[in-house]
Symmetry: C2
Subunit: 347 residues, 2 copies
């Protein structure tokens, strides 16, 4: 049996490398009997070894370490010379995927850096013009996938159609969602509503053999009526960040109100577990971060505040991605669609 | 002294005409000694008179009624034949402004209908290419103006610059905000971030003699760092509606959690006033609805769920708009800018 290797960026995340190593060890412990996998930790070897010493009773032979002298901090903004920084853990991990020394890479590091390096180093899979960043968001009915939340700034209708198809294949194969309900983020329910991009995209999506439920307004995103919401990367990024902003402000206001008088302090005491559960439900970190769909390799980007469980789950996710041959299926799905709808290439 | 007339759509709003009449009567009572104004109620005369009978002790001579046989319901979607429906209260009220029989119109009716009819019947003021819908949103520091939240679907950089200048003049003259901090909604803080629209707009805004503070990310909108946030109507509409969605879902989750056990029920009892205050703070209705900035006439669109106070405040707002000559000042500001930055017309 072939050994399937996953590269994990040991230096990525607010609490790296400690949390990353903990998540990796947890994964190995849960899969002790499986000889088919290996985790390649990429990062500062000394620090990794120091962390590894904390753990016993796990198969060390399931691990290998690749030393990387540099790291890209969480706060750094994208700079064009990143690609030339050969020694960063993110670049080295992506290079492993590029050179087929790993089948996937997981990083809870700087999202912008992982995205930019993955796009330039790996390129897109066959039939995909632009990769897209996909994220699971919590809704009243469970959760939905929002694509694209920022891999692209300006998109064309055929890009959005590809986002829809990639998201569909992903939801079906990795999460077992059958025939996912696909909605288009728009500013009105009727077909004629929207900007040039959404009007043309709407017209294309309804011609496809998918479960297209039409436009979804911002107000309805969190109701969970669609399993997949397609949007351009600019709008998706604003939508995602403004949601985080609203949650943050509501919690701040609540805190301020609670501290304002004795009655509300008493109230908070009794409600604190409920509020904790809601906060957890709305915390994107719980959903394992984002996926860069469509690059020529599997790239899973964890939230910067990922805990060990999130890292472990990201590794599980990457194996599911590999075993289900999601990249190949996405490529086939797009090809099939382009044959059935030739006009797609021209918009 | 000239009598300044305001047309009020008596049939607009979820609880029209009762709430509208109550708001109008309240306004008249608070301004009994002022002979310079008159309110023209537009709507079904019989229903209006029936409502008016509920009130005593107010100057009936400050009121006039214009009968309108039809109304556009809150749920109706925009239809091109609206303009031909001569007898709707919205159209008749806007016609009064067009014919200079009223200086402003206030409606808490169907936003899409008011906007579409105002744009086609009144047109734009001098130097403005596209009107924009402006709304006050609550922030941690008070409130900020968000422009455009849906008057346009596709915008050009020079449109966004005009939105910024209109918002600036409005905040300065109607709300007394001195040299308002103006931010551009974008997906990154750095100047080079964003889509083609925001990158070009950023470059234009920074050349102007305004207090431009740069890009504002979705996450930061509700922190209140900017007094005015400029965006295209598509993004603004998604941002506004997704915010409403998040608030709704958080309150639903809280309700579900509260009902789940006795401790949280007790907690809710003590916290209920605090939660009520937060809900009120986040309720857009409290901020009097939206303004259609840039049409050739003053059009104030109240929230559908406006109460009497909101209607009364919308009337106050419209008088301030008139007395401060905001439309004229907007036109001058744009003209001045176009002289100082001639390239503005070409983008």
């Amino acid at each position: 049996m072939e050994t399937v290797k996953i590269a994990v960026d040991a230096m990525g995340g607010d609490d790296a490398p400690a949390i990353v190593i903990e998540g990796v060890v947890d994964y190995i412990r849960e899969n002790q009997r499986d000889d088919g996998f290996k985790i390649t930790l990429v990062g500062k070897e000394k620090e990794i070894n120091k962390e590894l010493k904390k753990y016993k009773n796990f198969r060390l032979d399931r691990l290998e370490i690749i030393d990387a002298l540099e790291e890209i901090s969480m706060k750094e903004h994208f700079l064009s010379y990143w690609r030339k920084r050969e020694e960063t853990s993110i670049k080295k991990a992506i290079d492993l995927v590029k050179n087929n020394q790993a089948k996937a890479m997981v990083s809870a590091g700087n999202t912008g850096a992982v995205m930019a390096l993955a796009k330039t180093i790996l390129g897109s899979i066959k039939n995909i013009d632009r990769p897209a960043l996909a994220i699971m968001i919590p809704t009243l009915k469970g959760n939905s996938l929002l694509v694209d939340v920022g891999a692209n700034t300006d998109s064309k209708p055929h890009n959005l159609v590809q986002f829809a198809l990639m998201g569909k294949v992903y939801l079906e194969n990795v999460f077992g969602v059958k025939n996912p309900r696909i909605g288009l983020m728009n500013i009105g329910e009727e077909e004629v509503k929207g900007n040039e991009l959404t009007k043309t995209t709407h017209n294309l999506l309804k011609q496809l053999d998918i479960n297209f439920i039409g436009n979804v307004e911002g107000r309805d995103v969190y109701l969970g009526e669609a399993d997949l919401i397609v949007t351009d990367g600019f709008t998706g990024n604003v939508a995602l960040k403004i949601s985080e902003g609203v949650v943050g402000v509501m919690l701040s206001m609540l805190k301020r109100e609670i501290m304002s008088n004795i009655f509300s302090k008493v109230g908070f005491f009794f409600l604190r577990h409920s509020l904790g559960r809601i906060k957890k439900k709305l915390d994107y970190a719980e959903y394992g971060g984002a996926l860069l769909l469509g690059v020529n390799g599997i790239v899973i980007i964890g939230h910067g505040s990922s805990n060990a469980k999130a890292i472990k789950n990201a590794i599980y996710l990457s194996y599911k991605f590999i075993s289900q041959k999601v990249l190949e299926k996405i490529s086939l799905e797009i090809e099939k669609t382009q044959i059935s709808l030739p006009e797609l290439k021209n918009v």
